[in-house]
Symmetry: C5
């Protein structure tokens, strides 16, 4: 249905009372969009809003349509930063226009379902279509969470093995993803609450149930975000604990080696001195006695460390 | 009562106005459940919800029944992760249908009590039966808390002895259990609040008191969760403090040994040099004076460390 | 007044319209209490509640009485855990029955005051007596706080001296006391709010002021709990800082000794080598020059450390 | 006006309808105050409240007056603890009685202004006078904040230089001051809110504006407290970071010295051995080759450390 | 329009019903401002408020005008502290007077737009002009956020390289900026809420939409502040983790070198002793056997460290 030449679409939607959906794969050609907006009778402010990139989702009621814009966030397979995209919607009584920042496959799934099940959407109206599209976006949010959860399981395993602080950095990067997601979902929750309360011809009373469902999804997302953030913080704590314990182990090795051999080296040093008169040097078995003392000292040290549970 | 062949059950429940309970031990045979649902006049969405696994508990009112689903969590004796199961309920005016994800013994206790005390449940109605089942699930939540409390006592003891970071990991695992539990109990609290306010023929005014009781239990659980989380955090802090102190002890041993013997070894090294002209080497008691100096130095060091309270 | 044989008491309270107080020093003899409850016309659920130990305080209205149960917490002079006791009250129009878990002296003070000032309590009614008993319990809560504050002062002093992690453990134990207290006081606050709103013949409009006073005390307690928890956290931070600084000091000593003597020992080692041809060994004043170089090196090191403010 | 003999004051205030202010410089002479209270028709509870020291400020309405008590907190130039004082006020229709715990100069400023500008206060009434006194107390709270801010600037500078943990202790002491202040200001805010809503002849509708102004001041104070607490926490973090970095530096020095000279000393030790048959010892330039190897080793180590950015 | 001589302006604004804007570039000449205020019929309190520097923004309604004051915050290119300035506005029915603390270019942009588009502002009224000025100030707040975000990206890169604690200090300084900003924006949000509810002739019903827009901006700012604070805290954690890891690396080098060479040096020391009777010394290949043992020992150690993943 999407991206036909405008005149045809405009013609279609005016004469046909079934639902029309127009999707812009990019918003690069501003001029044409402006022309189209004038043709559709959209407020200039709405066009401006399509081009203003903000964090908070936004809903605005106009006389003949509702303007709606939000951020899509998706996990990024190649980097630790989320894929972000601003999406805007214009919901009229029998049409829905969506604007994507760049060509992406957000709505493939929905489009397929539409092909398959034209009847239902036609019957339900443009607001139901909007609900379907928003649901697809919120599903992406859930994917971010799932991605984080998968990463957490991965970190649980990597934790004990790796020593690199890159692990810690990744944990913090995941936390940032959750912070970013939270910044989008939190106002979205309120926004769906607003949408439910609107008395607007564009949204059917009957379909409001669906928007309340989206609101529940947002609540669920916020729960998940908080829980996963806590778990990531816990992972960070474990990292510190492991780091501290590795330090302890390293120092134990040095201390045990040092505490045993430094005194012994000193004894060896004494009998390496060149004083003319060191009586011990001339006793027959002095060397063997000396070695015995050294071994006893070393064993005493080992027992001491054993008692201290350092070994 | 449970899992008789459906036709008999259906026949029974339609002709008999006493309470009927049907429990599905598993939800593997989706087709049969769908057939049964059609027979019962259940909404297809309800069947779908039985198969959708979500974190948040959910209640939905339909014309002839209330749909209710939540997560059961139980402590796991063999691992640090909780046993999880999704449970769904359909409460009609004179019947209750429950769906378990897998065969488990959640309701054994309730079933026994029913055997024993059929009269009371019959008199009270299906909503009272639902209350009894929910109570059994919430009792499991309390078991999670008790399990955590027991672990805390165990950790208190293990703390001083063990040096392994596995203890710290366990503490964090317990915290995760609490986070997970919180994620279930928090929305449950709100849900029971909703249930109290419903004007529905399925729930007797008189029995609403029981649901308000369950809500109180949830509040109690949330209090316990927060307190135990704080205590676990405190344990984590103690772990860090002990780790730091062990480090200090390790370093003290190395430093004391090093600070005493490294200078002495140097002195021994001096008189081990092979210069032709080292006058001291030829004094008669030089060796003994040298030893005396070394001993005095060592004692001075020991006094210094004693003063510093390192010994 | 307390613990006379029941029949006499029952007889008394029925014929005499002044206030009657019956205190159970223990709840071990369950059977007798059940008999007594039947005699008094108490609901079986109330008796059950006396024997159910829960964290959250609870109030329940019955036709002829109000049931009230809460936890008493007292500082424990011999251990770091609080003394806990469940107390239950049954407030009728002209009687008050209290149940103590074990024989303790919670109410000695109140009893003495009653002996002394019978008139006032008689005039005021059973609800005033309840208020007096609850006040005594809340005074115990304040004692917990005072105990914590005293400990904080003690820790402030011990902090710099001690090196043992037992101090840190004690800090965390005090925090746990506050967490436990909070868990009791927080719902208590809400409960007194409920009590104020009750329209019940058992509580005089005039005496409601007293319960609002108890609520204020709870608020005050919660403030104190939060403040003292923050202060204890601060103490924990200081502990870490001191631990870190001690570590730094220990390492400085080792580093200074090592950095001065390890290079010098190396120089001594060179001239201790047995090569046939080491020309320096045969210079007349080589030994003295060598010593001079060593002393200069040591002084240079000391100046370096002085500049680094390590000395 | 203050502290004339009571009879004269009493006489004055009864016959003269202008505003009367009586300030008690201390509350040591309890008996006289009790006599005076009886004379004035004050409730015994109010006198008791003057002598009860509590953290939370308190307001109580009586028939002919309002009782008001709060804590004054002032920065202490000689110690890190705040100067505390309990102040109580009794506001009648044409008089104000204030009680100070000890002789202090809280109200000097106000008294001077009164001397200077008698007219205004007389016209405005006793509630305006109370407002002026409360303002003076709240100004002290702001001084605590300013004192903390000054300290923060001081710490910013001292941070890098000092190594003593006393700095950290001071930071925590400042935090405690803020916690203490918060404990007073937070309920005060609510209290002024209550005062605004009172329908009481003692407070003019017109003057309520002033109390709402005080409430704004409290909000401002709470903001400042939170911000400064966060900043102090930040300073604590910096302290830890610096401590950690100093540790790193100390260990680097030891490690560099150790890693260079310990292997070299070992080489020297080899050729210091007295085996009969060590061929190298007899080569003509062996000593010089050996020295060359040592120097190359040392340089290699230095390059390694340079690459690691430890130098 | 701004800063003409007052009489002309006064004359103008009285006779002309279009919008008049007077901007004070500085508030140094207090006397003249006071004169002007009298002329305009402003309340003396308003003039006082212009000269009182407070953190919280403030709005006050007077009979003929609304007083409004807030803090402007701007990122500072040369230092880590924000540029602060107090701005006050007086909004009459057809005039707006603004007071800047010091000559700055806050409003250049707005002034240019006014020059360009006089018509619109004239039509919309003085409240629209106020909106435009406030928008300019809030844009500055957003610049602070953007500045912080840029810094965060910078820190992400610098983190791994630098070892200086100055980085940590900068992170804390950025946090302070956010704390400061929060202290301004949070009450501002509430203030715009108040403004919306005011029934005042100075603000058109129609223009209230703009103030609700500013409130949304404040909410957005608060979201951003919290998110960025969390990210900065995460950066601080990474710093600690890197610091800890560097420490571990440093200690590993020392420990490996020490654990290999200290025992070897001891062996060398043994055969450097001058006992008359050390049989090994006289074996023919003793030296070579000794060297072999040493090499084997060193290799064993290396394998041990390799297994421990220290190499």
């Amino acid at each position: 249905n999407a991206q036909e030449c405008f005149p045809v679409w405009l013609d279609n939607y005016k004469h046909d009372h079934s639902v029309h959906w127009l999707n812009f794969h990019s918003i690069d050609c501003k001029e044409e969009i402006e022309d189209f907006a004038t043709e559709m009778g959209l407020h200039p402010l709405s066009v401006e809003d399509i081009y203003t990139f903000v964090q908070r989702p936004k809903v605005e009621e106009f006389d003949s349509y509702i303007f709606f814009s939000l951020r899509s966030l998706e996990p990024n397979t190649t980097s630790l930063e989320l894929k972000k995209e601003q999406l805007s919607f214009i919901l009229g009584s029998n049409y829905l226009i969506s604007f994507q920042e760049k060509k992406s496959d957000h709505f493939t799934d929905v489009r397929e379902r539409i092909e398959f099940d034209k009847g239902r959407i036609r019957k339900r109206g443009a607001d139901y279509l909007l609900y379907k599209l928003l649901e697809a976006i919120i599903d992406n949010y859930f994917e971010v969470i799932e991605d984080v959860q998968q990463k957490i399981e991965e970190y649980d395993i990597r934790m004990a093995e790796e020593d690199d602080h890159s692990l810690f950095k990744e944990i913090e990067a995941e936390k940032r993803q959750l912070i970013e997601l939270r910044q989008v979902v939190f106002p979205l929750k309120e926004l769906f609450g607003q949408l439910e309360k609107l008395n607007n011809i564009q949204i059917d009373e009957e379909n409001k149930y669906f928007f309340s469902d989206l609101r529940d999804n947002c609540l669920s997302l916020l729960d998940e975000i908080e829980s996963n953030k806590s778990i990531l913080e816990g992972l960070g704590n474990i990292y510190y604990a492991i780091q501290g314990q590795k330090m302890n182990e390293i120092m134990k090795v040095l201390t045990i080696v040092g505490a045993i051999f430094i005194p012994l080296t000193f004894i060896a040093g004494i009998y390496g001195m060149n004083f003319d008169n060191i009586p011990e040097l001339h006793y027959k078995n002095a060397y063997f006695y000396c070695m015995a003392v050294m071994i006893i000292l070393a064993i005493a040290m080992l027992i001491y460390f054993k008692r201290k549970k350092w070994l």
